[in-house]
């Protein structure tokens, strides 16, 4: 059993494992100690001098992030001395900070703004001209660096050294002339750049992708799981429900990903916006003319076609591994269980390197729920190997193919090509998010689907751990449905039209 220590935090007894710092203990107890340079995923720097607390018996204030709790220690975070120290820490941080709030993306989630309103609210005494430094520098694919806004907390330097182990950032010069930067001629060039934007407490590092798109106080965030690969990082999706649009993803602390996520996952919102989505269901009438219709109309059309053939030999199911386990269960229960379909194929990317791993988070299996799909196939009594059976669909001789496409076209480089090949078949019903399905004139039938942050369900990651989606946004496409809803509607149509 590991050793514990008990100490007093603001009068309350707290027991923690030996070696825990006061800052970590306070976090666990939901006691706010203001800080800039401390981060739970990085080493302790102790340079901002903001997290000062009073320890009984010691003459000077101590920083909480480097203070190991010992038995009997009496720590107070709210004495007059500590409060004054917090105010002056803010004063020192702000005296040379530029008045950039109107043009800075960090406004609304800025450490300086938030702490000034909670522990500051003092009258500044700075009346002299401020120190000027270079602004708006390009230091990476997704990074814009403003060295004047930087408060030199060194979180980014430590991230580069400890997490990505690339060491691309340093602090140059000294004193109040010190600036963050990369080495001459170099840029940051890895798959984890936007984490620097997240950890920067102020607007020194901002995301070029998100730059000026929206003010953050208009956004709502909901927890989800990234659908980009089989790691299944916990994320927060940021959208504006009033306009049904999405703007960005940020990592959430999770078992699979720690505090970080990769840059590839950052783009997992762009496929959800209305301009690239399938906006209405599509059917084709008897004369071969295509028309937009609503969900009920599409179900009616599909139900009729399926009823007119023998499902066991004439219907094939092509399914990708990017949907939730609950959706797969309902899909197979209906098609295999009820209809008795035998032709079930997996849609995987032919160029994928499934065992690739970049050493940190990003894996070569660009599907969120391969494990879920395989176990659902096994449960349904089907072959459950890891192979791309796309070609087998064409030669299966099926009259009707239900193609449950990958949700995120960017994870499947051959997506467009394969879509085109499918449209050559007799009759394919696309159940998809991708607007390119509607652009293709040969598409005969399509049902729009919900994206990952718009439905509830579970993704199983490469380790077999489950990631929950349980906080849905309203779907921007009115007729968008997830697989369970489509299946329920089909079932209902069949039963109301007297089928077994």
């Amino acid at each position: 059993m590991s050793e514990t220590v008990t100490f007093k935090l603001n009068g309350k007894d707290v027991t923690v494992p030996k070696g825990t710092t006061v800052m970590e203990a306070a976090r666990r107890e939901n006691v706010e100690i203001p800080h800039f340079c401390w981060h739970p995923g990085l080493s302790v720097a102790g340079v901002c001098r903001f997290c000062m607390v009073k320890v009984e018996g010691r003459p000077k204030l101590e920083i909480a992030c480097n203070l190991q709790a010992t038995n009997g220690m009496d720590v107070k975070t709210d004495t007059e001395e500590a409060k004054s120290a917090h105010k002056w820490a803010l004063e020192f941080h702000l005296i040379n900070h530029p008045l950039d709030c109107p043009i800075c993306d960090q406004a609304g989630e800025c450490g300086l703004q938030d702490y000034y309103m909670s522990v500051g609210k003092y009258q500044s005494q700075m009346t002299r001209p401020k120190v000027l430094k270079p602004k708006m520098l390009d230091v990476g694919r997704d990074l814009v660096l403003d060295t004047e806004r930087c408060i030199l907390c060194s979180r980014c330097v430590r991230f580069e050294e400890e997490v990505t182990k690339t060491g691309a950032l340093g602090i140059f010069d000294r004193g109040d002339r010190a600036i963050i930067g990369t080495y001459p001629g170099e840029k940051i060039d890895h798959n984890y750049q936007t984490n620097l934007v997240d950890i920067c407490p102020v607007g020194a590092f901002t995301s070029r992708d998100f730059r000026f798109k929206q003010r953050v106080w208009f956004l709502k965030d909901k927890p989800a799981v990234c659908p980009g690969c089989s790691t299944g990082c916990s994320v927060d999706v940021y959208g504006k429900p009033e306009t049904r649009s999405y703007f960005r993803l940020k990592p959430r602390k999770g078992e699979a990903n720690g505090h970080w996520m990769c840059d590839k996952g950052r783009h997992m919102y762009s496929h959800l916006n209305q301009d690239v989505r399938l906006r209405t269901a599509l059917t084709t009438d008897a004369q071969g003319r295509r028309k937009d219709t609503n969900f009920a109309g599409a179900i009616e059309d599909l139900g009729k076609r399926i009823a007119a053939v023998n499902p066991a030999t004439d219907v094939a199911l092509l399914v990708s591994a990017q949907h939730t386990s609950e959706e797969y269960k309902s899909l197979f229960d209906f098609f295999v269980g009820e209809l008795g379909i035998k032709k079930v194929f997996q849609w995987r990317e032919p160029t994928e390197k499934i065992d690739a791993f970049d050493g940190l988070l990003y894996r070569g299996d660009h599907n969120a729920n391969t494990s879920g799909l395989l176990s659902a196939l096994k449960e349904a009594g089907l072959a459950a190997g890891l192979k791309n059976e796309f070609d087998a669909v064409a030669s299966s001789g099926a009259k009707i193919v239900i193609a449950v496409t990958p949700e995120v076209p960017s994870t499947f480089p051959s997506f467009e090509q394969q879509l085109n090949r499918l449209t050559e078949l007799d009759f394919v019903s696309f159940w998809t998010l991708a607007g390119s399905v509607a652009d293709n004139k040969k598409t005969k039938h399509a049902i729009p689907m919900k994206g990952f942050p718009e439905k509830k369900g579970t993704f199983i990651n490469h380790e077999g751990k489950a990631g929950k989606l349980d906080s849905p946004f309203p779907c921007p496409v009115a007729d968008g449905r997830d697989l369970t809803e489509i299946i329920a509607a089909l079932k209902q149509w069949r039963h109301s039209h007297g089928s077994r």
Partner: protein
């Protein structure tokens, strides 16, 4: 419940309520109208009615009329697309799209700045919220148009207001802005800024 006997009210005896009351009332009214008509026609008495549009109404300097966007010395709109006006607006009628300005000094500017003037309640909260004195509610009150006309004022329309007296250049001193390459003379780290720009900090 007992019945209470209420006596009849006393009969007024003035000329308007007697049997001939309706004739006297009509005559009094017509006399009133004629008197005022004559007095005003002969300009003996002044009226408060303005003969619009020959006579224009004047309002105080604080009157909140049609919005306009102020300009800087170089002709660009002062607005930095900070969205404070849009956030503060109780009618949710300001729509802004921000963009990257090619000039490093300005950095952010509104690509689109639109006010849906039919939604606007002319409260002035946007003027109050603006940190850079970019939007003001001016003295113009005559806003006319037809059904289906242009009721969403764009940035160009809001900024182009040569007819306003006193101009729309804000008095704020633009020279407070700092350069990225040339530091002001005597600034303490002018040499460093120059060298960073020359070598590029990255």
């Amino acid at each position: 419940m007992a019945v209470v006997k209420v006596p009849l009210p006393p009969i007024d005896s003035n000329v308007f309520s007697a049997g001939w009351g309706y004739i006297t009332t009509i005559a009094a009214g017509m006399w009133k109208t004629l008197a005022i008509f004559t007095v005003q026609l002969l300009k003996i008495e002044k009226t408060n009615t303005l003969e619009w549009p020959e006579q224009a109404a004047t309002y105080s300097d604080r009157f909140k009329g049609k919005h306009f966007l102020t300009l800087r010395d170089d002709g660009e709109v002062r607005c930095t697309a900070c969205f404070l006006c849009a956030t503060n607006c109780p009618a949710d009628c300001i729509h802004i799209e921000a963009g990257n300005h090619p000039d490093n000094e300005l950095e952010k500017f509104p690509v689109r700045f639109e006010i849906d003037i039919l939604r606007c309640v002319f409260c002035g909260y946007c003027e109050e919220a603006c940190p850079v004195d970019a939007i003001r509610l001016g003295p113009e009150y005559a806003m006319v148009g037809t059904n289906g006309g242009k009721w969403v004022y764009t940035k160009e329309y809001l900024a182009e207001r040569k007819q306003l007296s006193g101009g729309v250049i804000s008095v704020k001193d633009e020279n407070e802005k700092h350069p990225i390459v040339e530091a002001p003379k005597g600034s303490r780290n002018a040499k460093q800024i120059k060298s960073y720009a020359r070598h590029g900090i990255h």
